[in-house]
């Protein structure tokens, strides 16, 4: 019971993080809702394996990103879902009003990056250091730097088009 309450508090504290991951990896609200639930489920499932030897945010990003990539274009055998539609839809609307057009445009460009780049740029935008990005992603710090440079170029050329 205590474990469950700790988990609930953890999710509540980080619901924004989960939301942003789902926003980057999905292209429609339906998929976003599915991914959101899948991440919460996977976090709960692996909660026991989190022993505090890593930062909670590192663990959380790792699970969320891993869940996002393993759910890419999965077969449409999804079963029932918890009715969180209303909450998420309203949250999406709120985010919409928060983002000015410039951010929305860039955000759409980020969505068009490939899977590897999406993860790295998301962590970068979230304010993670190269060291943290390397820990979460498994790429070396140098490789993270190189990839971020490429992403910058790619975004620039995408925007020019």
């Amino acid at each position: 019971m205590q474990k469950q309450q700790e988990f609930i508090n953890l999710i509540k504290e980080n619901e924004g993080v989960i939301f942003k991951v789902t926003l980057v990896y999905t292209f429609n609200e339906e998929d976003q809702k599915d991914l959101y639930q899948e991440i919460v489920y996977q976090l709960w499932k692996s909660y026991d394996s989190f022993r505090g030897d890593a930062k909670i945010s590192t663990w959380m990003y790792r699970i969320a990103l891993n869940t996002a990539i393993t759910n890419l274009k999965k077969e449409k055998r999804k079963g029932e879902r918890v009715p969180i539609d209303y909450s998420l839809v309203s949250k999406i609307d709120q985010i919409d009003t928060l983002m000015d057009d410039r951010i929305k445009l860039l955000y759409n460009h980020i969505k068009r990056l490939n899977t590897v780049e999406k993860g790295i740029v998301l962590l970068y935008l979230e304010g993670k250091s190269y060291d943290e990005i390397a820990t979460i992603s498994g790429f070396s710090e140098t490789n993270v730097g190189t990839r971020l440079n490429r992403i910058k170029q790619k975004l620039k050329s995408q925007i020019k088009k």
Binding site: V116, L125, I159
Partner: protein, 199 residues
């Protein structure tokens, strides 16, 4: 806009997002529990039913094997039984392989690599299963006819006259569709692996 600027604006936006608490205790508990049940259901039902049906047919063929009284019926019987046993096992194995990725252990790079490799393996098995199932469609007909009706369809029926052309025409168009369907998926998995190797 530079990436650094975007990062600053992103973080401004993040603050707003994080201030908006929407999830309730009940919603979080529901998400974990409901999902857990669905997970079990979604993995098991279609594959398990399909596998049991295939195994039942294989057992039926093997039990009644003595009724297959010519060499070609016996060969067809053996291959049919083998297909009904091997294809579902291979299919299940690759599907479970894709689902078995330990999300809590590997980092992003490892998980992507395992996922892409498993996906390619899955595509390969599915593709071959489709092609082999056409061989099965052809060889199971005389076996089924012999076991159910007791007739040797090769000698006693003209059904082949329409059955074979129909199967081959179907095979031609269906194979084209299968190839197209899996080519895209296979390419994206290959691209992902290449991207991971970039330094």
């Amino acid at each position: 806009m530079e990436l650094e600027e975007l990062r600053n604006e992103w973080q401004e936006m993040s603050k707003e997002i994080e201030n908006q608490k929407i999830l309730t205790d009940k919603l979080i508990i529901d998400m974990t529990q409901n999902k857990f049940n669905n997970k079990l259901k979604s993995i098991s039902i279609p594959e398990t039913i399909g596998t049991f049906v295939c195994f039942a047919i294989a057992i039926l063929i093997l039990i009644n094997f003595s009724k297959l009284d010519t060499w070609y019926l016996q060969v067809s019987g053996i291959f049919s039984a083998l297909f009904y046993i091997i294809l579902p096992i291979l299919s299940l194995k690759t599907i479970y392989g894709m689902k078995r990725i330990d999300i809590s252990q590997g980092n992003y790079k490892d998980s992507l690599e395992i996922f892409a490799k498993n996906k390619m393996q899955f595509i390969k098995v599915q593709k071959w299963s489709y092609y082999l199932s056409f061989v099965l469609v052809i060889i199971c007909l005389p076996v089924a006819s012999k076991l159910i009706k007791g007739t040797d369809i090769l000698l006693e029926s003209a059904v082949w006259l329409w059955y074979l052309p129909f199967v081959f025409a179907f095979l031609y168009f269906f194979s084209k569709w299968v190839f197209k369907k899996y080519k895209g998926a296979s390419n994206s998995a290959e691209e992902l692996l290449k991207e991971l190797d970039l330094t």
